[in-house]
């Protein structure tokens, strides 16, 4: 019964998110979120790379593919984390419906997950379009025949669970923090952008940065994505010694650990918000 109720909540929340933020039936929204933003984001790096290549820098096509693929898949991290914070602040301060949603007899936790599902769908379009653009326009080498599809799908699913777990932790924090324009939304993703080997090899980071990178599941997720796609091999010496099986194992363990941690943070944020009466606060200024 509870499962049925939760599934219904998730379905309804996904529909709501779709209506509010995504909705591919609206060509403008499709262009904004699935074409313009992802492609522009990738082109920034492409231009940076090309300028340095022209100046005779240490550029290598493998690094280009490494960067391009990493950046494309990082969209999941950036947009999901961004979205979760946004949902809380939007419901709480903008529509001021938080109190009604919160007291409804469904799990708010499930509601947040549901709202992110529509975001995963729209991000997937953005990722696919970016990859297609990379292959056909920029000559990014993705050997379609060499992709290990079953492993790719498994890694994708585990990775998305990990990202959603981070999102939930962030939702817990959003309960008790004020809305500061876009600060938190854009900022949190920066941690992963810097430390998870998204656009440059982890080995470039200082020693403490490499150590930190190695405890983040997203580092292994992106590495595994590249490996299953056969792209960017050998670019990152910091992770070169880790075998595929070890990587997958670390990814699984760290995802479980992060998920437990996220649930605890979410519950703690929820508890503090209720204790201090912050659930329906308005902090916009």
């Amino acid at each position: 019964m509870a499962i049925k109720q939760n599934l219904r909540t998730m379905k309804w929340a996904a529909w709501l998110g779709w209506q509010m933020e995504s909705n591919w039936a609206d060509p403008f929204l499709f262009i904004v979120y699935s074409v313009a933003k992802p492609i522009a984001g990738s082109l920034i790096l492409v231009v940076m790379y090309t300028i340095i290549a022209q100046l005779g820098g240490d550029t290598d096509p493998a690094l280009f593919s490494f960067m391009y693929i990493g950046n494309a898949f990082f969209m999941y991290v950036m947009l999901l984390l961004w979205h979760v914070t946004w949902v809380i602040h939007d419901d709480r301060e903008h529509f001021q419906t938080m109190r009604y949603i919160y007291i409804a007899p469904f799990n708010y936790f499930i509601y947040i997950l549901g709202r992110t599902i529509s975001n995963i769908v729209i991000t997937t379009f953005g990722v696919i379009i970016t990859l297609v653009f990379g292959v056909f326009v920029l000559g990014v080498d993705i050997p379609l025949g060499a992709i290990n599809w079953p492993l790719f799908v498994i890694v994708m699913v585990i990775g998305l669970i990990g990202i959603m777990a981070f999102g939930l932790a962030l939702a817990g924090i959003s309960f008790i923090t004020a809305k500061h324009s876009m600060g938190m939304n854009e900022g949190i993703g920066g941690i992963f952008y810097l430390f998870c080997g998204v656009i440059f090899p982890v080995s470039v980071l200082p020693g403490w940065g490499i150590a930190f990178a190695k405890i983040l599941p997203t580092t292994y997720w992106l590495d595994m994505i590249r490996r299953t796609m056969g792209v960017g091999a050998g670019v990152d010496p910091a992770l070169a010694g880790v075998s595929m099986t070890s990587s997958l194992l670390i990814l699984c363990i760290s995802t479980v650990a992060i998920s437990i941690f996220a649930v605890l943070i979410f519950k703690l944020g929820d508890y503090i918000a209720r204790s201090k009466g912050l659930i329906d606060m308005t902090t916009a200024y």
Binding site: Y49, I52, L63, S181
Partner: protein, 285 residues
């Protein structure tokens, strides 16, 4: 109850008071929710650092790290224009404040100016923290030979930029979420077009003559020329500027005039249209 009367202020004084009045909650609000320090100083440095390491991974010349830091610092102002001024109009509408602002006998530009001024406090803290991080973490060295020129460029970039932001705000008179999506569209694509992380002359090197026109087109956005001019002032020996410095300053002065006039006209026009269509204070659009 009879109030003691007072000498009615001049139009200018009244609007200046309105600017201060609206700036007040921005500054006080930020300080009353100190979590902004973390979100607006520490987090933005992370994403900027990622671009720094991307250049490092390619062994790019040192000045490119400085270019990224300058661009990263200036994103604070662009975000402030997009989200804390233009999109804030939408937020105010939803909170029920917009109608109270609009029935007051003041210019709409004074309200927006107040938001801009108040928002500049946190933006400047963010920009400075990025610059300081650049100097301390990455050893960036700027050579400020012409401080007057730098101040001139900064001031006119800001005036033109905020004029442009006021123009965007006028869209929110008529639209709600649609304009919000528009603001979303103007993040990554503008980071690309305006050369936040690379000098825009790069377009010319990569694309040749069409690249010149891309950069020229992007120069309509004041931050494009502002960034290029700042890089020219801070790296006089190394940077390959898009246009001569004095031309860029002159263009910024012109853009300031154009955008402030356009902002006034568009605010008036959009307000009229919104009042005709009954959408000025319509919520949940």
């Amino acid at each position: 109850m009879i109030f003691e009367d007072y000498e009615k202020p001049t139009w200018l004084r009244m609007n200046l008071r309105a600017v201060v009045g609206r700036a007040y909650p921005r500054i006080i609000g930020a300080n009353r929710e100190p979590s902004w320090v973390f979100f607006e100083t520490f987090l933005p440095i992370l994403a900027v650092s990622a671009y720094v390491y991307f250049y490092t991974a390619m062994n790019a010349p040192d000045q490119f790290i400085g270019y990224v830091i300058i661009g990263g610092a200036m994103t604070a102002y662009w975000m402030n224009v997009l989200w804390s001024m233009a999109a804030q109009w939408f937020w105010e509408k939803e909170m029920g404040n917009l109608e109270l602002f609009l029935i007051a006998p003041i210019s709409r530009m004074a309200i927006l100016g107040g938001m801009a001024l108040g928002g500049m406090f946190t933006s400047t803290v963010r920009a400075l923290s990025t610059m300081i991080a650049g100097i301390l973490l990455f050893g960036v060295a700027f050579s400020l030979h012409d401080p007057l020129m730098f101040i001139g460029i900064f001031v006119f970039t800001m005036l033109a930029l905020y004029g442009m932001g006021m123009m965007f705000a006028s869209l929110y008179m008529l639209w709600g979420r649609e304009a919000w999506h528009m603001s979303n569209l103007l993040t990554e694509p503008i980071y690309l077009a305006s050369g936040f992380y690379f000098p825009i002359k790069g377009f010319v090197h990569i694309l040749g003559q069409p690249g010149f026109w891309v950069a020229a087109g992007a120069s309509i956005i004041p931050i494009t020329l502002g960034l290029d001019a700042m890089r020219q002032v801070l790296y006089p020996a190394e940077v390959d500027g898009f246009l001569p410095l004095w031309v860029e300053l002159l263009a910024l002065v012109l853009l300031t005039g154009i955008f402030l006039i356009l902002a006034k006209l568009s605010l008036e026009h959009m307000e009229k249209v919104a009042k005709r269509e009954g959408r000025l204070t319509m919520r949940w659009q």
